[in-house]
């Protein structure tokens, strides 16, 4: 089984029955080109060197791991360690794949790189990488998210990107993906679509995972060095699943329990959550097969989470597969648990987490109690929470 996991996906981009590429033919040719270029570039020593250099000197890798001692004490259970992806340049894990995708775009001779964004983290990271590499950049963003994530919109604009407001549908992440796809279909020759997570048609789920894998590779070594052993459990939040797969990949064959945390939103009522793996069924959206929140007609359902980066009705195909083979357990945290974890980590450790990452913190706190003090948890702190501060203060002001 383990060997199988690490050889995924197959040549058609399938992880078991998930993934693949369900796209119109004019786009298939383009995806084949991207796959070919990526396969070339990933073994090219010059590319590997450049990526390594930028990881170290531009992104600031390796990001540290930190033993959250006070949080551990307060919770009173397993030791909680944080992989500090929030300390990366631009403040989240997204920069890991954006730098990779921007280098690929440059190598393919593209002029412009485009993408969707939910929380704005992927948009900011891509705008940053585009500025670095010298590419134009268009970011598609639902107007609901534009309202909520204003600081990130401003950052993208300062970085020279064009933020394209998306007004269709639910005006959030799913619709931003539609709009970016549409723009890409119109001109797939001069542009590259740099999707924001381990989703979309092949090769994106594979490519984005490969660029994120560094998180787990570093963490494994750092954790060993710090504690002399491996962690007992891994925890990461799941939107599309990029930060989670980034942490998990290096550990899939190890003796460690792995947990992905989905947003339970306000409730498990239709439209009030985005717990795709927990409540969804297999289906197809945006060119790939995965667990999906959809109605009886196969139409995607509206989704919601307090964390804009998590409210997507689909999820990465590899996560869908890892759920089926029960290698990873998918759990949930709701809005109020996330907000509580947001404050707790800020107050106890002086680390303000992104609301997305706060879902992982919330679940890790629960898990720590269950596991007890002899165990250890390694959590991917995927991003920092500066972008969420205004929203939190306006809607959940501190009680003291």
């Amino acid at each position: 089984m383990a060997e199988q996991i690490n050889n995924m996906p197959n040549e058609q981009g399938y992880f078991g029955e998930y993934g693949g590429s369900y796209i119109p033919p004019q786009l298939q040719v383009i995806m084949d080109e991207i796959t070919e270029s990526y396969n070339e570039i990933k073994n090219d020593p010059a590319f590997i060197e450049e990526l390594k250099y930028l990881r170290k000197h531009y992104i600031g890798r390796p990001s540290p791991i930190f033993y959250a001692e006070s949080l551990t004490k307060q919770v009173g259970g397993a030791k909680i360690y944080l992989k500090r992806e929030d300390l990366n340049h631009t403040g989240a894990h997204k920069i890991n794949h954006c730098v990779g995708e921007a280098l690929l775009a440059k190598r393919m001779g593209k002029k412009k790189i485009i993408a969707e964004t939910g929380a704005g983290q992927h948009g900011v990271a891509l705008a940053t990488a585009a500025a670095l590499v010298g590419l134009e950049c268009d970011i598609y963003m639902g107007i609901v998210d534009i309202e909520k994530e204003h600081p990130n919109v401003a950052r993208m604009q300062v970085l020279g990107a064009t933020v394209v407001p998306v007004t269709r549908g639910t005006q959030t992440l799913k619709d931003a993906v539609d709009a970016a796809f549409e723009a890409y279909l119109k001109d797939p020759v001069t542009q590259l679509y740099a999707i924001g997570s381990v989703v979309g048609p092949h090769p994106f789920p594979m490519m984005v995972r490969d660029f994120q894998e560094i998180v787990g590779i570093e963490a494994k070594e750092q954790f060993q060095e710090m504690t002399g052993a491996g962690p007992d459990a891994l925890v990461a939040c799941i939107g599309g699943g990029s930060n989670a797969i980034g942490l998990f990949t290096a550990f899939l064959e190890d003796d460690v329990d792995i947990y992905g945390v989905e947003p339970a939103g306000k409730s498990f009522k239709e439209g009030e959550h985005a717990a795709t793996l927990t409540l969804g069924k297999p289906g197809v959206l945006h060119g790939f097969a995965c667990y999906l929140l959809q109605d009886d007609e196969g139409q995607p359902l509206p989704v919601y989470s307090i964390a804009s980066g998590l409210d997507y009705p689909g999820v990465g195909p590899q996560h869908s597969y890892l759920k089926d083979i029960e290698r990873v357990q998918y759990k949930t945290a709701n809005d109020s648990e996330a907000v509580e974890a947001f404050y707790t980590l800020s107050r106890v450790e002086g680390i303000i987490p992104a609301l997305e990452s706060a879902h992982a913190v919330a679940y890790a706190m629960k898990l720590a109690k269950e596991l007890g003090p002899d165990k250890s948890i390694l959590l991917n702190l995927s991003g920092r929470g500066d972008k969420d501060i205004d929203y939190i203060l306006a809607n959940y002001p501190p009680e003291d």
């Binding site: 369900y22 004019q26 040719v29 797939p188």
Partner: protein, 246 residues
């Protein structure tokens, strides 16, 4: 003159009763084929006109049950072959085999599902040929000759050539490139349907000269909308819309 046109419309748009009138009008006006779209919320290959119509049709309560019932009812009153067009999502959701079985039972002549390409079609071409259903593969100007042959190997009766990249809606200029692409496809023994941005009689005539039937979509949806706005007779209006092109 009698040009061959595949006219496109959306099931349940703006509502079932009106959609029936649209289908009757298109058929009476001289369409050689009707392409009836079962709406999906995220239609990747469609421009704003069809997108919005699909959204409204879903809001108006479109379901696959209603869609298939619509086709069954329609086939009682027209002879024009009907091709059901939709996207992979709803099809995969109920299962390709089940979907095709229901399409066949409704009396449809075939199916068009652009994002279930040959090779990643979940058995669609195999099952449809067993059922005697004509599934139409879609190709684009950047489809390679090797790929084209792979597609023709599944033995389709028709092939849908998107005349340019991008999405439906905006007018397509029939350039040297798109015409030489068509010339390549025309070498084979398969009936070619050419579409994306066809809106004028000149375009229809240019395609017809080469033995290619025109697929026309957004243009008819727009015509339907103006008929609704002016409270005109829908069946007559759609019939006129197509007879001015054929």
């Amino acid at each position: 003159m009698n040009y061959s046109i595949m006219s496109h419309m959306i099931a349940s748009y703006p509502d079932e009763r009106t959609a029936m009138q649209v289908a009757k009008g298109l058929s009476r006006g001289g369409a050689s084929y009707l392409e009836i779209q079962f709406p999906f919320s995220d239609p990747t290959a469609d421009g704003p006109v069809i997108q919005e119509a699909c959204t409204k049709a879903i809001e108006n309560g479109f379901t696959l049950d209603r869609g298939f019932t619509f086709i069954t009812e329609l086939m009682k009153i027209i002879d024009t072959p009907v091709y059901i067009m939709t996207y992979a999502a709803p099809v995969v959701y109920i299962g390709v085999a089940e979907y095709l079985r229901r399409a066949k039972a409704s009396g449809a002549a075939g199916c068009i599902i652009p994002d279930l390409p040959v090779g990643s079609d979940e058995g669609m071409y195999q099952i449809s040929s067993e059922l005697g259903l004509d599934c139409v593969p879609v190709i684009a100007p950047n489809t390679s000759i090797a790929r084209l042959q792979e597609i023709l190997n599944v033995g389709p009766k028709h092939i849908y050539a998107a005349l340019r990249a991008g999405i439906t809606g905006t007018k397509t200029e029939l350039t040297e490139d798109s015409l030489s692409f068509l010339a390549e496809v025309l070498k084979y023994e398969v009936k070619v349907l050419g579409g994306f941005g066809i809106r004028t009689r000149e375009q229809v005539s240019a395609l017809d000269e080469r033995g290619v039937a025109s697929v026309i979509g957004s243009y008819f949806v727009e015509r339907l909308e103006s008929l609704i706005e002016t409270d005109a007779d829908i069946e007559q209006g759609m019939s006129d819309a197509i007879s001015s092109l054929v």
